[in-house]
C-alpha cells in the first residue's frame, strides 16, 4: 500500500486540536499536504520522532498526539519504546510507516528479521499491530483514535518513487518551529510561557 494513501485516510481522523509529529522522511511532505493546518512538528531527525511525541503527550494530556515515524528512524533508538510503555500515555498514537528502506538507500532490517510491533510489545506496549492493506490501516487507525493508548501501528508501505519535497518554510528548521509554537500558543489547552 502507498504511504500517501494511508496518510490521506489518517488526516480526517485528526481534529484541529490534536498535535502531530513527523519523522524526517516523506512522512513530512506528505503529511503537510494532507494536514497543513493545526499543530504539526515536522521532520524530526532519526530516533527523535517517537520520544518527542511522547513529550507532547504529557504536555497535552487531554488530546490525542499522533506520531508518524519511519522504520529506520525508530530503529535508531528503539529504546524509546520502553519509555513510551512506562509513561503509558493513553493519548499517544504512533504510526510507523515501514517501507523497509533508508530513503532510497536500500533495505533495512525490517525486510529481514526485525519485527517492530513485536519489539514494541516486548517493550511493554500492549496495543500494537502490523497492517499491510489500506482497509486494515483504516480500521486500525480508527480504533486507535477512539480508544485508550498508547497504541503503535506498523504500516507496511511501498517505497516512494522519486523525491518529494514540501514548502521548506513550513516543514523545516526555525520557521517550522515558529509555525508550530504559534499553533501551540493558540491551543485552548496551552499552559506554558508566562
Amino acid at each position: 500500500m502507498k504511504r500517501l494513501d494511508c496518510l490521506k485516510v489518517l488526516a480526517p481522523l485528526v481534529d484541529e486540536h490534536m498535535l502531530a509529529v513527523t519523522s524526517l522522511s516523506t512522512n513530512t511532505p506528505f503529511w503537510f499536504t494532507v494536514r497543513p493546518q493545526g499543530p504539526n512538528f515536522f521532520a524530526l531527525n532519526m530516533g527523535l520522532c517517537l520520544p518527542f511525541a511522547l513529550g507532547l503527550s504529557v504536555a497535552f494530556p487531554k488530546r490525542k498526539i499522533i506520531a508518524i515515524d519511519s522504520d529506520g528512524s525508530l530503529m535508531n533508538d528503539s529504546s524509546s519504546l520502553i519509555t513510551v510503555a512506562d509513561v503509558n500515555p493513553p493519548n499517544l498514537v504512533a504510526f510507523v510507516m515501514d517501507n523497509g528502506s533508508y530513503a532510497h538507500m536500500g533495505p533495512t532490517f525490517t525486510t529481514r528479521r526485525t519485527d517492530l510491533a513485536k519489539m514494541a510489545q516486548g517493550a511493554g506496549i500492549a496495543n500494537t499491530g502490523t497492517v499491510g492493506s489500506l482497509e486494515e490501516f483504516s480500521a486500525a487507525a480508527k480504533q486507535a483514535m477512539e480508544s485508550r493508548g498508547p497504541t503503535l501501528i506498523v504500516a507496511k508501505v511501498e517505497r516512494d518513487a522519486g523525491r518529494v519535497s514540501a514548502d521548506r518554510s513550513r516543514t523545516s528548521g526555525r520557521p517550522m518551529r515558529e509555525w508550530f509554537m504559534d499553533a501551540v500558543r493558540h491551543h485552548p489547552d496551552y499552559k506554558g510561557g508566562r
Binding site: 529504546s79 519504546l81 520502553i82
Partner: protein, 195 residues
C-alpha cells in the same frame, strides 16, 4: 537467584579460549573474581557491552564470545539487538543479568512491563530464553555454548545488597585495557593486522 551464584555457575563452563565482556555493574567485580585468566573486557559502559562483544565475535569467529550485560545497560540501546540479529554470528552469546534495578537507584522497566527476551525476539534473534532458577540457567548456558547462535538469555536475579568493587588495576580503564590486550595478543587465534 543471586547474581554471584549465577556467575559462579557460569565460570567452569567457559573454556580458556572463550572471550567475555562485562557491563559496568557488579557483573564486573564478580566476574573478575571468578575468571582470572583468559580474554575478559571489564566494565563496558551503559549500552556498549553487547555491541562491543559483537565486534569481538567478528574478530574471533571460531570462539564463543559471551556478553555479560545488565538490564539497565541493554535498555539504553536495544537497537544493538537488531544489529546482532542481522550480523547473526553463530559464536555470540548474550547473558543479561536482570535485577530490575539501576545499581541501588531503584527499579527499572523490567520490574514493570518490559520483557527483554521479547524485545530480542522482535529484533530478530531466534534463540532466546528467560531463566529464573540456577538449573534452568545452567541448562540454557550449556546449550548456548555447545550450539550455533546467536543466543540471548535473560537471567532474573535479585538486586545485590552491597556495593561491590573490583580490583581497579584489572577491571577499569587503561589498566584493564592492557590486561585485555595482552590476553588478546596471546590468544592462539589472534590475527594481527596484515600490514
Amino acid at each position: 537467584m543471586k547474581r554471584y551464584d549465577c556467575l559462579k555457575l557460569l565460570a567452569p563452563l567457559v573454556d580458556e579460549h572463550m572471550l567475555t565482556v562485562t557491563s559496568l555493574s557488579s557483573n564486573t567485580a564478580f566476574w573478575s573474581d571468578l575468571r582470572r585468566e583468559g580474554v575478559n573486557f571489564f566494565g563496558c559502559n551503559m549500552g556498549l557491552c553487547i555491541p562491543f562483544a559483537l565486534g569481538l565475535s567478528a574478530a574471533f569467529p571460531r570462539r564463543k564470545v559471551i556478553a555479560l550485560d545488565s538490564d539497565g545497560s541493554l535498555m539504553i540501546d536495544t537497537s544493538s539487538l537488531i544489529t546482532v540479529a542481522d550480523v547473526n554470528p553463530p559464536n555470540f552469546v548474550a547473558i543479561v543479568m536482570d535485577n530490575g534495578s539501576y545499581a541501588r537507584m531503584g527499579s527499572t522497566f523490567t520490574a514493570r512491563k518490559t520483557d527483554l527476551e521479547k524485545i530480542a525476539q522482535g529484533a530478530g534473534i531466534a534463540k532466546t530464553g528467560t531463566v529464573r532458577g540456577e538449573e534452568a540457567l545452567a541448562a540454557a548456558v550449556k546449550h548456548a555454548l555447545e550450539t550455533s547462535g546467536p543466543h540471548f538469555i535473560v537471567a532474573k536475579v535479585e538486586p545485590d545488597m552491597v556495593r561491590v568493587k573490583g580490583d581497579p588495576h584489572r577491571t577499569y580503564g587503561r589498566a584493564m585495557r592492557e590486561w585485555f590486550l595482552d590476553a588478546v595478543r596471546r590468544h592462539p587465534d589472534y590475527q594481527q593486522a596484515r600490514k
